[in-house]
């Protein structure tokens, strides 16, 4: 049997229109529905669903059917969604509660990220120690062109501010580049973590090579004064990016979790995004510090002051991630 399509559409149309207008309101309005509105919404959804079933069983009119399907798909999303509707953002609550809690929830992934970086450091350090010529391969940004002692001499005898008039530009370039690298580290989590591991290991190699190069040349103080002000934030930021990438990778792999891939990813996606915004903020701070403080050495700024500044930052960062929001309800 085939239904009288024209009559069917004419009869059902007002309910479809009402459902459509309610949907538009629900989708654009952050105000929750009243019980009465909810009842009506559910009733209209059921009517439309029954109409779709009738249309599919008794007639075959693709355009009306796809219209009803899209209407029901939208209503279904609203009715069956159990996650919170993300209405308002509270920046301070997010910063002091949501972010550190998300970090602690995945502390294992952070330790793994740290371990991979340390393994890279050990490799880069040993490579530089046993084969000094490898510095031409392991060190970026032209750091291999000068011996540390020569660079320190050059920096400390500098009378002209080489960043004068370019500090903001340099700062913006650092931030965007570091955030790009960190997002890539996170995104490579989708390769079951292989790409994330490689990037973390590579970062570790650079760090280890530079550190051993300066320490073995007797320039430990300069190294700490140069790297600590921004590095104590920048390096953990990259580790957090690695942590987010590994969380994503673990959800992709699903070890010990029998839930479907979609469900596993849904479970971690909010934390991955929280960590992403977290590392982006850390890198913005690190970009400012690197441009406006780290590039200035003795006699302009004493190394002890820079090291002290870096130490204070590190302590605050550790306290922030370890303690902030610890007593609050999990968000």
């Amino acid at each position: 049997m085939i239904i009288d399509l024209q009559r069917f559409i004419e009869k059902s149309r007002p309910a479809w229109m009402e459902l459509e207008s309610m949907l538009a309101r629900v989708e654009s309005d952050n105000r929750p529905m009243s019980v009465k509105e909810m009842e009506r919404f559910h009733e209209l959804y059921e009517l439309a669903a029954a109409d779709l079933a009738r249309l599919t069983t008794f007639a075959s009119e693709p355009e009306t059917r796809s219209y009803l399907e899209s209407l029901i798909a939208r209503a279904y999303g609203e009715i069956h969604e159990t996650r919170d509707k993300q209405r308002r953002i509270f920046p301070l609550k997010w910063l002091f509660q949501t972010l550190p809690q998300a970090f602690r929830r995945h502390i294992g992934a952070f330790y793994l990220s740290l371990a991979i970086t340390l393994a890279g450091c050990a490799f880069g350090g040993m490579a530089t120690y046993f084969d000094p010529e490898s510095r031409h391969v392991t060190m970026p940004f032209g750091l291999d062109s000068l011996r540390p002692t020569d660079r320190v001499k050059e920096e400390e005898s500098r009378t002209v501010d080489r960043l004068a008039g370019n500090k903001s530009t340099f700062s913006a370039a650092l931030m965007t580049n570091n955030i790009r690298v960190s997002i890539t580290t996170l995104a490579f989590g989708a390769t079951w973590g292989i790409g994330t591991i490689l990037l973390l290991f590579y970062n570790g190699i650079i760090l280890g090579a530079v550190a051993v190069d300066y320490v073995s040349d007797g320039q430990t103080r300069f190294l700490l004064g140069w790297l600590m002000p921004h590095g104590v934030i920048e390096i953990p930021a990259i580790l957090v990016a690695g942590q987010a990438g590994l969380v994503l990778a673990l959800a992709f792999i699903g070890w010990g979790d029998r839930a479907a891939l979609g469900k596993r990813l849904r479970h971690v996606s909010r934390d991955v995004v929280t960590l992403s915004i977290g590392f982006a903020l850390m890198l913005i701070w690190a970009g400012f510090v690197e441009s406006f403080l780290s590039q200035y050495h003795e006699p302009i700024i004493p190394y002890s002051a820079k090291i002290a500044f870096g130490t204070v930052e590190l302590v605050l960062l550790v306290l922030f991630f370890a303690r902030s929001g610890a007593n609050a309800k999990q968000s």
Partner: protein
């Protein structure tokens, strides 16, 4: 197995389908978005030429940061405020939706846009395109990670049967018992095929159109044997119009 539509069964037992967008349509949407981003960056650069007069350093830093923010944030911002659509997707009638049919969440939008950095590699979305091509639901890696899909939004138009049939004498209605038998014997798919053929008749090549209606008329005549005078003098196309009128309109 690759599919062109995602079917979701609701707890009420209703099945609805969402047509999945293919890589080519998505590529065109991306090209439109890319052109808009380039245009925006050009505008930003022009604007900064004024700031440069005051401070070249601030102008350069704002340009660098602005390019980055627009590049990364364009998709996130528009997909959030337009519920899964950017300008390119609006033009191509595409929308990002949750793969389980649930409400699209902000973290899903951010995740799929962050993973663009991987999908874009090595260039022109090769990884994303391959993933889209190989995955069952046509998802790039960002979509898989965010549990989203990109669907085609159907153009909504109801069949205007009155306009198709208005004012025409229908010789088949002179035989109500045969008309009733026809309604009984024709399946929904056959009815839909005839209806779509009439609705889209102007889009066919003339020779193909004649051949199509000839085959359809022959097919429906096999279903019910109307007397010769009922179809005498009718073209095959008019014959099919009369069949549709009988099938879809219950008036006698």
């Amino acid at each position: 197995m690759k599919t062109s539509a995602l079917r979701i069964r609701t707890p009420e037992g209703i099945v609805f389908a969402q047509s999945l967008a293919g890589p080519v349509m998505r590529f065109f949407a991306w090209v439109i978005d890319l052109l808009l981003i380039v245009a925006f960056m050009y505008g930003l650069n022009r604007l900064m030429s004024w700031v440069r007069l005051i401070s070249p350093d601030i102008a350069a830093s704002l340009t660098t940061a602005g390019f980055f923010v627009v590049n990364v944030g364009y998709g996130m911002f528009l997909e959030w405020i337009w519920r899964g659509q950017t300008i390119g997707k609006k033009v191509m009638r595409l929308r990002v939706v949750d793969a389980d049919g649930l409400r699209l969440q902000f973290d899903q939008i951010v995740t799929r846009n962050l993973l663009r950095f991987l999908d874009m590699l090595p260039l022109f979305y090769v990884i994303g395109g391959l993933s889209c091509w190989l995955s069952q639901k046509c998802q790039r890696l960002g979509d898989i990670a965010a549990n989203t899909i990109v669907i085609r939004i159907p153009e909504i138009s109801e069949p205007d049967l009155e306009q198709l049939l208005e004012g025409k004498f229908n010789s088949l209605r002179k035989y109500p018992h045969l008309a009733a038998r026809l309604r009984q014997r024709v399946s929904p798919v056959e009815a839909s095929t005839a209806l779509q053929a009439v609705i889209r008749r102007d889009r066919f090549d003339p020779i193909a159109r004649i051949e199509l209606f000839r085959q359809l008329a022959a097919h429906f005549q096999e279903k019910v044997d109307f007397p010769p005078e009922a179809t005498e003098g009718l073209t095959d196309e008019q014959c099919i119009r009369n069949v549709i009128d009988v099938i879809y309109s219950a008036r006698v």
